[in-house]
Symmetry: C2
Subunit: 678 residues, 2 copies
């Protein structure tokens, strides 16, 4: 049961698609107070209650013990004290002992604060803002609450099938030669690869919708030649548009008032990569259509996928603040800077970036209505992505174009995925990425993954291997690294065969993973789930923070600590442990419900098949280079059952938005005898 409550004069965000009537009864699931700070919802939490959700945030699957602020920010240090990451995902589910769980969605694109037992361990408090729509969802179980919410916010984006292949990125690829070296490095070592990303350096001076002609003299030709090898190029698009006379995007934006405005009505000036820039007013329909249409120029050259970045939007500084700060700094020039003044200096300079006051200083024209950016801050990434997605519908109707974003708000999940931003080559971030996946899925974001190997800092061979062993299960499987970090393309390490084997296992699992992903899209379900969603009556399952259910048949328990050669695993039921050092060689073992210590070698993929379930494994040619080689491949089946079991393998063309399953793939029923798991 979904109830809708309206407070103040909320801004229409576009998050919700279902038509829900406003509830006539007052909200009773939580206490409601309305004061100068806006609407505050609160409730007691029992010692065994678990709180799920909030999408892209730090800490565990159970969000208790910290406070989270929905206010998108470009901050690269994702440590435990970070209250905000790149998105605003205001949905949580409270699992209560002996009571029905319930969900809460706060539809407010400004700042929303969730104190999930930080100030007081037993208290959940939500500062929802003055103007918001709140939806409460009561259903009999956790899965049902999540599904009910997902029906409210609409069907999730489905990426093209090639985007489920392995992908490589690095901030630093400069030109054709760099990209070619990556493709050669992978394919030349027998490792499949489906995409290479173009980070900011492909552009002409960081100008959106340009390509540096010196680096890519025949961009369309190069895109085509890579595609002929099975590899798509995926360029980045940034939110900020460079201020430069003669640059058409800038000129058109200014001429048509398509950019966000400063208080005084002039175009707001903030800085990103190219320095001073304007920001397309993506909340304005005309501006959005204009900006979205700009993607066509790249699509015309053969591009089939994009990643939208810096769309919190990130601000290195605002023009006004920089000027003021410089004056203040220079006034300090000959002082004896002590504890107070030295830190003022540091805070002034570090505070240039993404300053909260700057977000309060510019405005949108939401089709006639002037809105302060601060009040709709979390919508920027959503509507920049919607700009692209809406344009794709016109430019390439019915085609699936790869699209994902850094910043997001619930609702954007219908238009694209996200990646989890600028993580680091830390083991703790491998665990964090495991824990973020189900939280994101709850909020509708299904096409997602973290930067495998870690974006910032230098990766290590073992970290990359372990991360890949988890990453083979994430829909977006992309290795990405920052400039000036260690090169982390797989072929730079010893024992390339380990990387080859693990990545090939991804392709082997792809029919299952894609099938389960698409079912989750089409049925409003979660691809990644905490164990408690599938085993609600198992008291220990609710405590497991480092294992996930993946689709209907699999549980994973990734290794995420350095030098570990195994880990503890909790099985909520009897399962079949599948250990693979290569796609072709595997060992299976039936294991009983309960606690186990499992050895998992550094070059080994281990997963667990639920009793009564099975999955297909593609039989692949040793020369496989990309998903393009996987048409009509054959399957082996792995499963575990005492008697007959069934698996519906969903497949479709993987290219269009026609999600009708191909009839010939709609199968199959197997019996115990057919599943050789002994």
């Amino acid at each position: 049961m979904i109830c809708k409550y309206v407070f103040g004069k909320p801004i229409e965000t576009g998050a919700v698609v279902a038509d829900v009537a406003q509830c006539t009864q007052p909200l009773s699931l939580m206490q409601v107070e309305q004061g100068p700070a806006g609407v505050v919802l609160s409730c007691q939490m029992g010692p065994k209650d678990v709180v799920y959700g909030l999408g892209e945030q730090v800490r565990g699957i159970n969000k208790r013990g910290f406070s989270y602020i929905s206010y998108a920010i470009d901050g690269p240090i994702h440590t435990e004290n970070r209250h905000s990451l790149y998105g605003g995902h205001n949905f949580l589910i409270v699992s209560r002992a002996q009571k029905q769980p319930f969900g809460i969605f706060v539809d407010n694109p400004g700042k929303v604060v969730f104190d999930v037992g930080e100030a007081r361990m037993d208290r959940l408090e939500i500062q929802a803002g003055s103007d918001c729509v709140i939806y409460t969802i009561e259903e009999e179980g956790l899965k049902e609450v999540a599904k009910s919410f997902r029906r409210l916010v609409g069907q999730s984006y489905a990426a093209p099938k090639w985007a489920f292949g392995y992908q490589q990125s690095r901030w630093g690829y400069q030109n054709e030669a760099d990209v070619r070296a990556v493709v050669d490095g992978y394919h030349g070592n027998g490792i499949p690869l489906d995409a290479v990303y173009l980070d900011i350096d492909y552009m002409d001076h960081y100008k959106d919708f340009t390509v540096d002609q010196e680096k890519f003299p025949d961009f369309a030709g190069f895109v085509g030649s890579m595609k002929a090898r099975g590899v798509r190029l995926v360029p980045i698009i940034d939110a900020g548009v460079k201020i430069e006379k003669g640059y058409p995007v800038y000129e058109e934006g200014v001429a048509n008032n398509y950019f966000c405005k400063d208080e005084d009505g002039t175009d707001f000036v903030g800085a990103v990569w190219p320095g001073k820039s304007h920001f397309p007013d993506v909340l304005n329909t005309a501006a959005r259509e204009w900006f979205g249409g700009k993607y066509q120029w790249l699509m015309d050259q053969g591009i089939e996928g994009f990643w939208n970045d810096m769309n919190e939007p990130a601000l290195f500084y605002s023009e006004k603040r920089l000027k003021q700060t410089m004056d203040e700094v220079l006034a300090m020039k000959d002082q004896n800077l002590d504890i107070h003044s030295y830190w003022q200096l540091i805070e002034k300079i570090d505070g240039l970036c993404n300053h909260p006051q700057d977000y309060k200083s510019f405005y949108h024209n939401k089709d006639g209505e002037r809105i302060c950016h601060d009040d709709v801050h979390n919508l920027y990434g959503f509507y920049m992505t919607k700009a692209a997605a809406d344009a794709f519908c016109k430019i390439a109707p019915h085609k699936r174009t790869l699209l994902f974003s850094r910043s997001s708000y619930i609702g954007m999940h219908r238009y694209g995925g996200i990646w989890t931003g600028d993580n680091a080559s830390w083991w703790s971030h491998l665990l964090l990425s495991i824990q973020q996946m189900p939280s994101l899925n709850m909020c509708g974001i299904l096409y997602t993954g973290s930067d495998i190997g870690g974006f910032g800092n230098d990766t290590t061979q073992d970290l990359l291997l372990r991360w890949l062993e988890f990453g083979i299960f994430t829909p977006l499987m992309r290795n990405h690294a920052a400039a000036d970090t260690r090169e982390q393309e797989a072929y730079h390490f010893d024992r390339i065969e380990d990387f080859r084997n693990i990545i090939r296992i991804r392709y082997g699992l792809l029919p299952y993973l894609y099938s389960e992903f698409m079912k989750a899209v089409l049925n409003d379900e979660m691809y990644f789930r905490p164990l408690a969603f599938d085993f609600p009556d198992d008291a220990h399952a609710a405590k497991v923070e480092d294992q996930l259910m993946v689709g209907e048949s699999i549980m994973i328990a990734p290794v995420y600590t350095q030098n570990a050669t195994g880990r503890y695993v909790y099985l909520p039921q009897d399962m079949l442990m599948v250990c693979m050092k290569s796609l072709e060689g595997r060992q299976c073992q039936v294991m009983e419900k309960g606690h186990h210590y499992v050895d998992i070698a550094l070059n080994e993929v281990v997963f667990f098949v639920r009793k009564g379930h099975m999955l297909p494994l593609a039989v692949l040619d040793s020369g496989l280079t990309s998903t393009a080689d996987m048409e009509d491949c054959e399957y082996e089946w792995i499963g575990y059952t005492d008697n007959a079991a069934e698996y519906i393998l969903y497949d479709d063309d993987g290219m269009t938005t026609d999600y009708t399953p191909r009839s010939e793939w709609k199968k199959t029923v197997r019996t115990k005898e057919e599943l050789a798991w002994g």
Copy 2:
């Protein structure tokens, strides 16, 4: 067997006390190369080899998979990518499959780099510098290597017994009222407390060896009144001396050339809390004696303990660099700051702090020899602490004065302990502190602990409880927090009884903990040990990264993840699990060797007693306020044995450097029947 190898013209560091003759054979345990980069030692590591040691560094007990740089730095963000923390602890032990383990100590107080399998997983490489003494140690077991090394570097510092009580600190206590409120807060809630720390605000404008007269109008009287309540005050001493005409420490230092010198022979100017400061040349005997003597003024007012801080030494900036940077910033004033210039600005300002070039720009006068600071960088904290310790021997001979430091180098362990610096209220830092303890113990640093609850960021009730549950086992048990973070004195939280019970358990365990600490001091042993040190033949023990042996009888397995209500524990032998929710109420259970999942409630202390071992537990009055109340207390005994067992309870006066055990405490033999562990 210890072998000594001399390369170049090493600086005498004072790390080693034993007289070891230079080895006549070339170093053969590792490959040695000498080139422009200095001495490089390297060896292959087998897949099962484990590398222990390196003292205060990030990551696990097994140091494999990262590179560590010994170059002390004041950096508060202790994330996984940090190559240096506050000390230089150049000792490691390589545990080799089927071979004897060996230790390596690189006695070089400049920069030393240990790549423990980062560049290549199977390769250990040490860049030892051009001028260094290298000691190799081969013994039959890990414990023996550690002990042999400890004999080389001399007996560890023993703190007074009161310093094993619970201690409270916070950067922000301003005056008498603040300190009194802390003592009232603890004692008024029935929680024992032995010390309150005075961070930088007690001083007059951050001037060493001053007390702000407005805040503490009768300092000696106040110190005495607190001591009468069982609470010592422990003031901070900083490395930098404020440049201020008329301030005697400054005037004397300048007049006698006691400060470090700039290239041009003037006193080097760097900034810390008070702004521009000079730095006592602690490598100069006269300067060191002078600076040490300054502690007397505080001791004369009743102070019995100190913590030395900012002695890497931390530099907010150097006078020269600030001037140059300000000019460079000025030149950027009207530029369009883009990706390159904006980051230059940020790097310039953030780079003011602890700039490597600044450490190369000033000099010591080591009793006649001019030495660039960079070459002896890691000695600063050591010799600042030795300055104090040497002075204490004269000011208060035979008395144990509490002394610990932030920066350190091996050798300093004879003069004082360390705390593990400015950690954060992160769960990952609770784990890090667990992992740092045995690494520090190997290097001789026994009196140590982390800031319980975390220094930076806001703690939470559950984090503080879990941290205390580990902290009751660390010799230094201090709750400390940074300014502007959540108040984390125990009495600020709900369920004060949980805090009271846990801290009282510390006092109950104190006879055992002190006994084991002093035995480790007197016998050159480790108080905290990785499991593999006690169970070298247990293959799994070497993989356990989150359990420690504490003294001879106990193994601990702290909970360090949020919302966990238990954890997996590996028992390398049959043990008795002791679960205590209070000192008076406990449950014991015999558990078999192997893997277990153990429930551990948030308000529960759990530890494991080794078979054939036991420990005393003090019977305490409910009104206990500090260790002062513990004279002549009675003991209960907890133990687990099939037959007779023995425990030698070491005790002494706890106040003097006369370590002769009090004869009446030298006991005891018990039999199974006397140990009620059923």
